[in-house]
Amino acid sequence: MKYEKAKLIAKNLPTGSYAAGCPSYNKGGDNCLIQNNPRGKGCSSCERAK
């Protein structure tokens, strides 16, 4: 394999990582904790920078 220096290509947002498991620990459903936040954001868009 041709060598190049390893590159970091993505990391979690400061609001957490849905990819690493929803920051609210549960995806959707009755227990989706995102709903607690009046500024909605919603499932998956929760970690989006606005």
């Binding site: 590159k7 970091l8 993505a10 990819a19 498991g21 009755d30 989706c32 607690n36 954001k41 606005k50």
Partner: protein
């Protein structure tokens, strides 16, 4: 020098990229192909850096030992800085450096809500967008919610699982559970959530937890905890759970027991929570709000705060998985929801601060609406699915009516790759909700396919009026609050 991954991290590598996450800090990273080759050399057993470098030299052309060593040590140092790995001269030193979850500090890791990760390297993408976009052609499963038992020892009045199912419930045989776990692990899965019904009614739950660890899976459990036994707690600690999530509806035993319809359930759940906290096992309290507990939830939040447990509420409520909407009679009205939202703004100091400072969530990543519109609505069909006791595979918690396939007839992989229904789900993007994209209350709304589906007799694209009403309500209250705040700033 020795290195090993932290007991809290999980690594998955493909031919194209390498992924590492930490369940304690909830941070993650994606590296390119070369980084993946590096990550493959790091595992749970301590390894000597020089021996790793010798292995790596065999992988690459035209690189000197010195150059490779310099780059690898830089790579290792960056990972160690964010607690993904530990390094030292002896295995004992590594153990000492590795973090255990504990409540015996001011702010346990589970209360952290700032997941910022400093890296010297510039990064232009975030992990979620990377996965949603990178794998759009070939989605890779990451999370599985596993209903171990369809039996339940509570009959909560708002539950989205119909009571009839709990009365005639059963448990999945452990051999079948293990074979599905094997398959999930082989597919590259990371997160497994053990649920029900009631997960602890499965007699082999501890063996299943241990098996998940053997397969290097990150474990969460959803449970009401009323059948948790004292002698199970040390084993739950040993398997290093990511979280146990439980519902506590009120600090008034009568209200809680009225919601669960089981007398004495409040006492048992509360005692179990406290035992788990004493054992330093991460717990989270969910307090879904409904008419019965709308006045007492703040005491639950205060109780959680006192124990340093993360606790959250939910005021939306989802209709039942069999498309019946009877449980929604318990849902808060708009007026009651307004009171709750005002309470949240008033009493949630973090949220209040966020509103007042109006700080951008990140200066590193910009929100791009055009890009957003091409992305999926959520991880449904992209990175997660669920399995019932009878082997039905369905897209997301609460969506048991939307069966993608059955693991007694097909492999999980076949369902994940070939199911026509899952392919249809993968065609849904944010632009499938064009009215929402241009809606004034866009920022105050959460679009959820299963909530739509269950409440509209099976139409995932039809948004129930209540959800839009709540979004507009949120917007009105937040804007009103911001205006008051600005006025106060000018007058003071």
């Amino acid at each position: 020098m020795l290195i090993r991954q932290s007991k809290n991290t999980f690594i998955r590598c493909t031919d194209k990229y390498g992924y590492i996450i930490n369940q304690l800090t909830r941070q993650d990273r994606v590296y390119d192909k070369i980084g993946a080759t590096f990550l493959k050399q790091i595992d749970r057993m301590p390894k000597d850096v020089d021996s790793i470098l010798k292995e790596l030299l065999k992988e690459f052309d035209e690189v000197s030992f010195i150059e490779l060593k310099k780059d690898f040590l830089e790579f290792v140092s960056s990972l160690e800085q964010s607690k993904f790995i530990v390094s030292g001269d002896t295995p004992e030193e590594l153990d000492k450096k590795d973090l255990d979850f504990t409540y015996n500090i001011c702010i346990p890791k589970t209360l952290n809500d700032d997941f910022s990760q400093h890296t010297n390297e510039k990064v232009s993408n975030n992990t979620q967008d990377f996965f949603l976009e990178e794998v759009q052609g070939e989605p890779k499963i990451s999370a599985l919610q596993f209903e171990l038992s369809s039996r339940c020892n509570e009959r909560c009045i708002h539950c989205y699982i119909p009571s009839a199912k709990k009365q005639t419930g059963s448990d999945m045989p452990i051999e079948k559970v293990k074979s599905i776990i094997d398959e999930f692990a082989e597919m590259g899965g990371i997160h497994i959530t053990l649920s029900g019904g009631e997960a602890f009614l499965h007699k082999d739950i501890l063996e299943i937890c241990k098996y998940c660890r053997e397969k290097d899976l990150k474990i969460s459990i959803l449970s009401n905890l009323i059948s948790l036994k004292d002698d199970q707690i040390p084993i739950l600690k040993e398997v290093n759970l990511s979280i146990i999530q439980t519902s506590l509806y009120s600090m008034d035993p009568l209200i809680h027991d009225t919601i669960t319809t089981v007398k004495g359930s409040w006492q048992k759940t509360k005692e179990a929570i406290e035992k788990l906290v004493a054992a330093d096992i991460p717990v989270q309290i969910s307090c879904p709000l409904m008419k019965a507990n709308k006045d007492g939830y703040k005491e639950v939040l205060a109780y959680a705060q006192q124990l340093k447990i993360k606790a959250q509420t939910d005021y939306i409520m989802m209709a039942q998985a069999n498309l019946e909407t009877g449980n929604l009679a318990n849902r808060l009205s708009l007026e009651e929801t307004e009171k709750v939202i005002r309470d949240i703004i008033e009493y949630d100091l973090d949220y209040k601060q966020e509103l007042m400072l109006k700080r951008p969530r990140s200066s590193e990543f910009e929100f791009n609406k055009e890009r957003f519109s091409r992305q999926p609505v959520c991880g449904v069909g992209y990175d997660n699915c669920c399995i019932t006791v009878n082997g039905d595979v369905y897209p997301c918690a609460g969506w048991q009516d939307y069966v993608l396939g059955n693991v007694y007839n097909q492999s999980l992989k076949d369902i994940w790759v070939k199911s026509e229904k899952i392919k249809q789900l993968r065609n849904i993007t944010q632009s499938s909700f064009p009215k929402c994209l241009d809606c004034e209350a866009f920022d105050y709304c959460s679009r959820c396919l299963v909530r739509n589906y269950n409440e509209t007799n099976g139409n995932m694209f039809e948004i129930p009026k209540h959800f839009c009403d709540v979004a507009f309500l949120n917007m009105r209250i937040v804007k009103e609050y911001e205006a008051t705040f600005i006025k106060t700033m000018y007058t003071s």
